[in-house]
Symmetry: C2
Subunit: 291 residues, 2 copies
Amino acid sequence: MTLIGIDIGGTNSRVGTVSPEGRVLVRAAAPTDAARGSAATITTLLDMIHQVLSDSHARLSGPSAIGIAISGPIDVNTGIVSNPYTLGGWPPTDIVSPFRAAFQGAVVIAENDANAAAVGEWRVGVGRGANRFVMVTLGTGIGVGFLVDGQIQRGSNGSHGEAGHLVLDPSGPSCYCGAKGCWESLASGTALSNRLKDPSHMDRADYSRAIEQIAHWTGLALVNLCAVFSPDAIAIGGGAGAQFDLMKDSISEVMHQHRRLIRTDVPVLAAQAGDDAGLIGAALLAKDRQG
Amino acid sequence: MTLIGIDIGGTNSRVGTVSPEGRVLVRAAAPTDAARGSAATITTLLDMIHQVLSDSHARLSGPSAIGIAISGPIDVNTGIVSNPYTLGGWPPTDIVSPFRAAFQGAVVIAENDANAAAVGEWRVGVGRGANRFVMVTLGTGIGVGFLVDGQIQRGSNGSHGEAGHLVLDPSGPSCYCGAKGCWESLASGTALSNRLKDPSHMDRADYSRAIEQIAHWTGLALVNLCAVFSPDAIAIGGGAGAQFDLMKDSISEVMHQHRRLIRTDVPVLAAQAGDDAGLIGAALLAKDRQG
């Protein structure tokens, strides 16, 4: 029983064979290069699957289940991803069928990447034991997954809330989501590079200040998540999440300032499965679907 | 089997006998006058219970279950309310024991008023049939209850999130919660009267403008609730919620502006049980506890 996990991010994509316990056995990574279109990305991913299967000596048996974690709005019932934003202009794309066609007999599922990462961290990372768990992926964009007893919380039509676009400052920058001053516009990897592109923001002190701002807004966003969801634990992952050590004091400070009524005294932890959380979670969700 | 519902608000308190189907049979109301202290309020409430029981011709059998909906942070496990804010300086108060002592044999429970109102609207009001339901009480303060399949969503220690204190504008007014520009500071009944106390804000046009502002911030708060919770239906109740007709267009407009990624095309409805929602919900929760 070979499990494959795939994580399609705005910047990089990852493929791995995953053990039933959620350990990555063999992995491969490549730039997503979404601008070349979804067909090119899918071809690259299929090559990567063959490569990891070969490296796992599992080429002959093939995968029994494939889980795809993908950035942005995805209809988990149809497998259609509608994300022209962080996936450079893709039209609505059926991300599931090409993998079903290539690996007949395999169970193939797709899931929002933040939800998949939440499942990964809850099963094998820092979310273990949390009754109400929030996973934040700070990357090119910002994604948030919510679990109760390990189950993904979503709208009754299967929709994902997109809590990365919480409005935090109506006088903030415009976002592709239509809002001004949403969390992603203030604190994503894209927001960081926008700040650093400014010629007046190129030295080390200004880099620190940019990280500080991202941490501040992330702290405020976590206050709002606590007000609505009352989590027991929060994990921060994704590319920018790798800077968690630089951000954690500012995040704590903002949360502490808002502790009077809202229960913000919640552990905020660096994601443990790191970049693997999404593909591990997706692979395990696909395994669950095998029954 | 006589059910009693009590709703202790920052301004007024209500008591009623409630049928097992959630209909209010006899009701009484009085100013909460919290500044006189919790003991005085409890004495008034006990008098009101005797009055409605007498009017219901149920004085001899007494109540079998009493449900108390109360403004502000309450520990539903101990019945202790810790709300010095909208209940004028009350120290932490056991709100349950005096009613247990007065009506021995009766089941007595207490619940955050927004949660109780959510249950009331879900059972007998506009929330019927909603899988994921949000109830907002716009009154002296702002409370929010979240139900999934009719069950109150809360922190794993029983805590209430206090989503009325979502931060919406960090350059906004200071709130007793410790935040600047939280929803309650921008859009509660208190915020409205603060605006109208300003001598330059006394005419009809300025009243309209104040309502418009409250509607605007409430719309933005609902966008954030959609981003985190993905509701199927939202109800607006409470004292200021009675102005819903004046607010609904502005609320819709703000939600529509944010529809690109977040599923904000959710029905937003005036609460149907009105001021009775909290006491109905509390009474039915107490009935459920009887087993």
